[in-house]
């Protein structure tokens, strides 16, 4: 019998206890993996290649104020800028105000939108049809699937921010690398129905030639409009998205404290199990020693057992997290970025192993050092 086999045999000596421990650690690690995935999605992922090449221009004071539409041509003239498109958040209601029926609606320019967002996949004839229809819209494929929309369907959206109700026709369905949960329609529609917003736009999305241009272009834009009546704030697409996360509150502290609680809970559960099984085996340990096992190898046996239990829990948790993450990715919105990456799983497993090690270290140290004769006398 090899040592590895000895460890695994021991790990499953009390099947019920091992299963419960693995399940308990597994669920804790599931949570840890999910939290790390959220963290990664918010703060570490750089987004798509195109995203790294885009900046978003908004009013310096607040997103709530709009910018004059003529800024677009001025931005276009800046060296390094490839395309500029306007985008106006409409914030209307589809069907009712239930959160599950909520999605983003942007008023934009159909002739240039897809030049700024080349990663959107859409058949050319659909683009053409959209550009010809002022009341046309293109919708995200995940959204179309969710609401069972087809090209040619009517889409009625009640205006909340603007006193305008949209009656759109779906002219195209686009597929984005990460679901956008958005529909795009012609901004002229709002202009005509509510002339007060004519000549104003919410934000401009700018595609630059290379990722290296981003910083310079952003600085030039803000510099150019510094003394204009409507100064601008230009940031990378990523930073722009992150500013919405920041509005949710202190998300970082929230995630970190949950992670801390979870890691500590794993330690407790694992330590509990190891304390129980080591105490049961006091006599065996003494026996092993009489057979000539050194203190170090006995220590190794127990620590190995704890680590393997924790790792099995880790694998279980990662597996569930992986399945959940894939399910969530199809929901779109902020969940779309919540794919569980192998590196996140790896970190979870390392944490699991570390907790297993810590939990077993102290009780097994005591067991390994215990007196042989007393150990042999030990009852139950």
């Amino acid at each position: 019998m090899t040592l590895t086999r000895f460890v695994t045999k021991n790990a499953f000596r009390n099947k019920r206890r091992s299963t419960l421990t693995i399940l308990s650690i597994g669920f804790s690690l599931l949570l840890l993996t999910l939290m790390m995935t959220i963290w990664r999605g918010f703060y570490i992922d750089k987004g798509s290649a195109q995203s790294a090449q885009r900046v978003v221009v908004r009013h310096k004071v607040s997103l709530v104020f709009s910018l004059p539409s003529f800024y677009r041509e001025k931005i276009r003239a800046i060296p390094g800028v490839v395309s500029v498109v306007n985008s106006q958040w409409f914030g209307g209601q589809y069907k009712d105000d239930k959160p599950e029926n909520f999605f983003a609606q942007f008023g934009t320019d159909p002739t240039e939108l897809l030049k700024v967002y080349p990663e959107f996949q859409i058949p050319a004839d659909q683009v053409e049809a959209w550009q010809k229809d002022r009341a046309g819209a293109i919708v995200d494929s995940e959204l179309a699937k969710k609401f069972n929309w087809k090209v040619g369907d009517r889409l009625n959206i009640k205006g909340v921010i603007f006193p305008v109700d949209l009656e759109l026709t779906i002219r195209g369905i686009f597929t984005a690398p990460t679901p956008t949960q958005a529909i795009y329609f012609n901004k002229t529609y709002i202009d005509e129905a509510y002339p007060r917003v004519k000549g104003k736009d919410g934000v401009f999305a700018v595609l630059t030639a290379t990722p290296q241009d981003v910083t310079r272009v952003a600085q030039t834009i803000d510099e150019d409009f510094r003394n204009a009546p409507e100064p601008t704030k230009t940031e990378t697409e990523r930073a722009f998205q992150l500013s919405f996360v920041a509005m949710l509150g202190n998300v970082k502290a929230f995630i970190l404290s949950i992670c801390g609680a979870v890691v500590f809970a794993i330690l407790l559960v694992s330590a509990n199990t190891m304390a129980m099984s080591i105490r049961e085996r006091t006599r065996e340990v003494a026996l092993l020693k009489t057979l000539g096992f050194t203190q170090r190898s006995i220590l190794g046996l127990f620590v190995g057992e704890a680590i393997s239990l924790a790792l099995m829990g880790g694998l279980l948790g990662s597996l569930i997290a992986f399945v959940l993450g894939n399910m969530a990715a199809h929901q779109g919105g902020f969940l779309a970025t919540m794919r569980v990456e192998p590196s996140t799983v790896l970190v979870s497993l390392v944490v699991a192993a570390a907790m297993g090690f810590l939990s077993a270290a102290l009780p097994s140290y005591h067991a390994a050092r215990g007196n042989i004769v007393e150990g042999l006398r030990h009852i139950g």
Binding site: L20, F244, V269
Partner: protein
């Protein structure tokens, strides 16, 4: 006959280490759940206590937020002032306040970014209509001056929000001249300034909302209906408390994440509790058999072990609650899903939160204890005695 409770208490004490570790695990879960529930309770309190049932808020038709484009015209405001059922203040003025809302960006003091802050522009009459709001430092703004008064929470949470600081709103610098306290209502997240100065600066011709004070509840309902039914004015009237209550949906993201976190942690803790209880049953095989021999029935043994598990979970709940006590009343903020600006609120460990936390822990204890207790009760006496 029931096994005395002291039997369980002594057993838990005998196996101190195991009990404490399992209870701590439950405590962590409870603490997390309490934290999330206290956040939601604080948010609900902020919105739930805002608004007077006699106040009617009038917005543009189709709009659900004060922050929408378009609004209530000055003419419509005049119509309302003369309606029957409008209360008058002690100077005989009709209590109707035309207001405007803007959102400005302020940097957080702790350096975690810039957020939108709701800025309300109104007249001194509008201040008078909200008796819960009172000045704690400095003075109110002077009409016709670019002056603002900030809430206590804004003052504490944001840089550049002290008396003497200036804020850029539109094209002008506005001086901060005072700090008000809003008794934990939604106005706690606002900055207030003079409406007429704003109208001049921004060339605003409409109010984003009008607040009316009715003389009695019947008149309030009548005013609300009057606003809704007038085809010419195209307005949307609602009672002020209802408007703020609708904003409690801002807690939806916290709730969504919170429920998932709490459930997953609870499942994990239940398995841990089950483990501990199985161990307790296994150690006491002979003892249980002896109890049976003395004459305690199977059901009473089952109950006894379930109670022991429940006791352990209640201990966990208490520890969890104590762990969270320092966070009670802590001020925090999240995004208001209606006005897209920050709403500041305090964590509230209300009695329902505490009771729910204890019940939550007991569910974990019950789930963890039931199977082991069943196992204990089913044990064969003879085999166990020989154990």
């Amino acid at each position: 006959m029931a096994i005395p409770l002291s039997y369980n208490v002594r057993n838990l004490r005998l196996r101190k280490g195991l009990t404490i570790m399992t209870a701590l695990g439950i405590a962590l879960t409870v603490a997390t759940a309490v934290f999330i529930m206290a956040l939601l309770a604080g948010l609900n309190r902020a919105f739930g206590t805002t608004g007077d049932p006699l106040n009617v808020l009038v917005l543009r038709k189709g709009s659900t937020s004060e922050l929408a484009a378009g609004g209530v015209s000055r003419d419509a405001m005049q119509v309302f002032k003369d309606l029957p059922g409008i209360a008058k203040n002690n100077r005989g003025e009709p209590m109707a306040s035309g207001e405007d809302i803007l959102v400005i960006v302020l940097p957080r003091k702790d350096g975690t970014g810039e957020v939108n802050v709701t800025t309300r522009f109104l007249t001194p009459l509008g201040i008078e209509m909200r008796p819960k709001v009172h000045l704690v430092a400095g003075r109110w703004f002077t009409p016709g001056q670019r002056e603002v008064v900030v809430s206590k929470s804004i003052n504490q949470r944001f840089a550049k929000a002290n008396i003497g600081d200036t804020m850029r709103i539109g094209n002008g610098e506005w001086n901060v001249v005072g700090i008000f306290d809003a008794e934990g209502t939604a106005h706690e997240s606002e900055i207030w300034g003079d409406i007429n100065q704003l109208a001049t600066d921004f060339e605003r011709t409409v109010y984003s909302s009008v607040l009316l004070r009715a003389t009695d509840p019947v008149s309030a309902a009548a005013l609300k209906n009057r606003a809704n039914d007038d085809q010419r004015l195209e307005l949307n009237g609602m009672l002020e408390p209802d408007y703020y209550a609708s904003q409690t949906k801002s807690g939806a993201p916290i709730k969504f994440v919170g429920v998932i976190v709490a459930i997953i942690m609870a499942i994990g803790s239940s398995f841990a509790a089950m483990n501990t209880m199985y161990a307790a049953v296994a150690y006491r095989g002979r003892e249980i058999a002896t109890l049976r021999v003395i004459g305690f029935s199977r059901p009473s043994i089952l109950t006894s072990f379930v109670i022991e598990s429940l006791l352990m979970s209640i201990l966990g709940a208490l520890v969890g609650l104590v762990l969270m006590l320092p966070f009670n009343n802590m001020t925090t903020g999240t995004q208001n899903q209606v006005t897209f600006s920050e709403v500041v609120f305090r964590l509230q460990m209300t009695p329902p939160v505490v009771i729910t936390a204890v019940l939550f822990a007991m569910v974990m204890g019950l789930f963890g204890g039931l199977a082991p207790a069943w196992h204990a009760a089913k044990q064969d006496i003879l085999a166990a005695l020989r154990g």
